[in-house]
């Protein structure tokens, strides 16, 4: 057991415990807060994978924006979901069985894969990787098209979401 293994186990435990609370807490606001803890723990995992940039993106985008969007949406739909009433569908045991079965199947498949236990190779410099990422995003023979399409996708999502959220009276009042 090296220190980074212990750290990983602690973080993994936090991630899974928080994830478990997200799907089981009856109070939906608390579920959102557990989701934030889960996302934060995942950001720590990215740091451990030497992807500091993605850890920061995770915090900025998920915790800074998506979690707040969730909380706003919960507040907007608050009246419908008082904490009474069942939090699960009637056939939730089926879902649990399916989840466990999928997990078992995934682990079984993965364990038959030859490079399952690979150890990480040495990393030279992750600033250079970020520079390469920046170049690849805008270079025409790499990811230029996906990059612009992602932008257009987000525009479409935003306009659509504003339209849908505002209902029939969408547009200027």
């Amino acid at each position: 057991m090296t220190p980074d293994m212990i750290l990983f186990l602690v973080i993994a435990l936090v991630t899974l415990a928080a994830g478990f609370m997200v799907v089981t807490t009856p109070n939906i606001v608390h579920a959102a807060l557990w989701l934030i803890l889960n996302l934060f723990a995942v950001a720590v995992l990215y740091v451990m994978l030497n992807a500091g940039f993605f850890a920061m993106v995770q915090v900025v985008v998920y915790i800074g924006a998506i979690a707040i969007l969730f909380i706003f949406a919960i507040m907007l739909t608050r009246h419908a979901m008082r904490d009474s009433g069942p939090r699960f569908n009637t056939d939730w045991p089926m879902a649990a069985i399916l989840g466990v079965a999928l997990l078992a199947a995934l682990i079984w498949i993965l364990s038959r894969w030859q490079s399952f236990m690979t150890l990480p190779p040495m990393l030279t410099s992750d600033t250079d990787i970020l520079r390469q990422l920046g170049q690849a995003l805008v270079s025409p023979n790499a990811f230029f098209i996906p990059f612009e399409i992602a932008s257009v996708l987000l525009v479409a999502a935003m306009i659509g979401a504003i339209y849908v959220a505002w209902g029939k009276s969408g547009g200027k009042k």
Binding site: P3, V29, L33, I36, G52, F53, M56, V57, V59, V60, I63, G64, A65, A67, I68, I71, F72, M75, D126, T127, L130
Partner: protein, 409 residues
């Protein structure tokens, strides 16, 4: 001599060698050194707040033609200490139905989110808490944690005003975060690096000269992020009582207060590191202690600027605030980033000299400001005026004419 010119590195090396000499593992030594560094930074910043609060109260007093605190100690300089003792011994009143854990977590988180910013800001040459290569994004991410703390405080208090205040604050902070990140993108483009330390190292010319408009945008948005006047809607007493911290008492309220003061100072430090050359100044390279002094002087000057603005401007309305953020700052910042990027690439390809670089950037900034003023004027002229309460009436001329009688009903 090394002790005098570069005390931090000298002492750090001395302790490190001492610990290694005791035969501790290198990892353990690193952890101990980090603990020491983090502890020193946190304690120093929390003590600095004592000075900041007195300074701010005195300055605001002067700006408003008052004395400010002047009872305790010489010129009232020790005023904060009895205040601290008082707030320390106040009873905590936890509102009924509060979400206890979150309610107690929020003030801690608010203070932490401010202190965390100091982890990546370089204080002097080679003296920086953590030289991560995504420092600018780190600053943004920590700001997001601060937003979250306010949201938590608001909805765990079980009070409508707290929730309303928190929601307004979050709407304000997220609206101003967009132009802020865009303004931070400008020094990243100029320095070709996201590390705060590298950005400071690259500033042979202070970026305030290359990008004055970005500096201004960052200054304005920083004040909105901190929630100071003219953007202090989060504690508009006349509108939403006190905002998100209405149900907090004792030291829990105290830490929100501390966080606000420290945040204003911290964000000044960020502006200095990004645009005013950080620790740069004559002789700072050879004598790092000078660099630290330069950094502090610059930071206090910017901080004075924020206090000045706070003392001079009235509070804006929430619709004005959000409109200003989205309809003026964001388009301007976007245009600025576009022009800066194109100009910077052109000059990089032509290997332009420093003078040319400065001139081109200045001209771009100036043009944008001019266009902005023209648009602003045009909008101002088109803004419909409210109808007067009563139609203009003909009244008898003369100084003491009787006003027309209003219908009594």
């Amino acid at each position: 001599m090394a002790l005098l010119s570069d005390p931090v590195i000298f002492i750090a090396n001395w302790i490190e060698n001492l610990l290694l000499g005791w035969g501790l593992a290198p990892l353990l030594v690193t952890i101990i050194m980090d603990l020491l560094g983090a502890g020193i930074i946190s304690v120093a910043m929390l003590l600095l707040v004592v000075i900041l609060i007195v300074l701010e109260r005195k300055l605001i007093g002067r700006l408003q033609g008052r004395f400010g605190p002047n009872r305790v100690g010489p010129y009232g300089l020790l005023q904060t200490i009895p205040d601290m003792i008082k707030i320390f011994t106040k009873e905590y009143i936890t509102p009924q139905g509060a979400d206890i854990f979150i309610y107690n977590l929020a003030p801690i988180m608010a203070t932490s989110a401010v202190l965390l910013l100091w982890a990546v800001i370089p204080y002097a040459p080679r003296v920086v808490g953590s030289d991560i290569n995504v420092g600018v994004l780190y600053l943004v991410a920590v700001g997001a944690l601060g937003t979250l703390a306010i949201l938590l405080a608001g909805f765990s208090s079980n009070n409508k005003y707290a929730l309303l205040g928190a929601f307004r604050t979050v709407a304000q902070m997220i609206s101003y975060e967009v132009p802020m990140v865009l303004a931070l993108l400008v020094p990243v483009i100029l320095a070709r690096s996201m590390g705060v330390n590298e950005i400071v190292n690259a500033q042979y010319v202070w970026y305030v000269i290359l990008a004055p408009l970005a500096t201004l945008i960052l200054f304005i948005t920083a004040m909105a992020e901190v929630g100071r006047a003219p953007f202090d809607l989060l504690e508009a007493e006349s509108e939403i009582v006190a905002g998100f911290h209405i149900e907090y008492s004792g030291l829990k309220f105290g830490f929100f207060y501390v966080a606000e003061f420290l945040h204003a100072f911290t964000i000044s430090g960020v502006i200095v590191a990004m645009f005013f050359g950080g620790w740069r100044g004559p002789g700072a390279e050879t004598y790092p202690i000078l660099g630290f002094i330069y950094f502090m002087i610059k930071t206090f000057l910017i901080y004075f600027g924020t206090i000045w603005v706070r003392g001079s401007l009235p509070r804006v309305r929430i619709d004005q605030l959000l409109g200003f953020g989205w309809k003026i700052l964001v388009p301007v910042a976007l245009t600025l980033v576009i022009f800066t990027a194109v100009a910077e690439k052109m000059m990089f390809l032509m290997a332009a000299t420093v003078i040319v670089r400065i001139l081109v950037h200045l001209v771009i900034n100036l043009l944008l400001v001019l266009v902005l003023i023209v648009i602003f004027r045009a909008q101002e002229a088109r803004r419909p005026l409210r109808k007067p309460v009563a139609e203009p009436r003909t009244v008898a001329l003369g100084r003491h004419s009787v006003p027309p009688e209003s219908p009594s009903a």
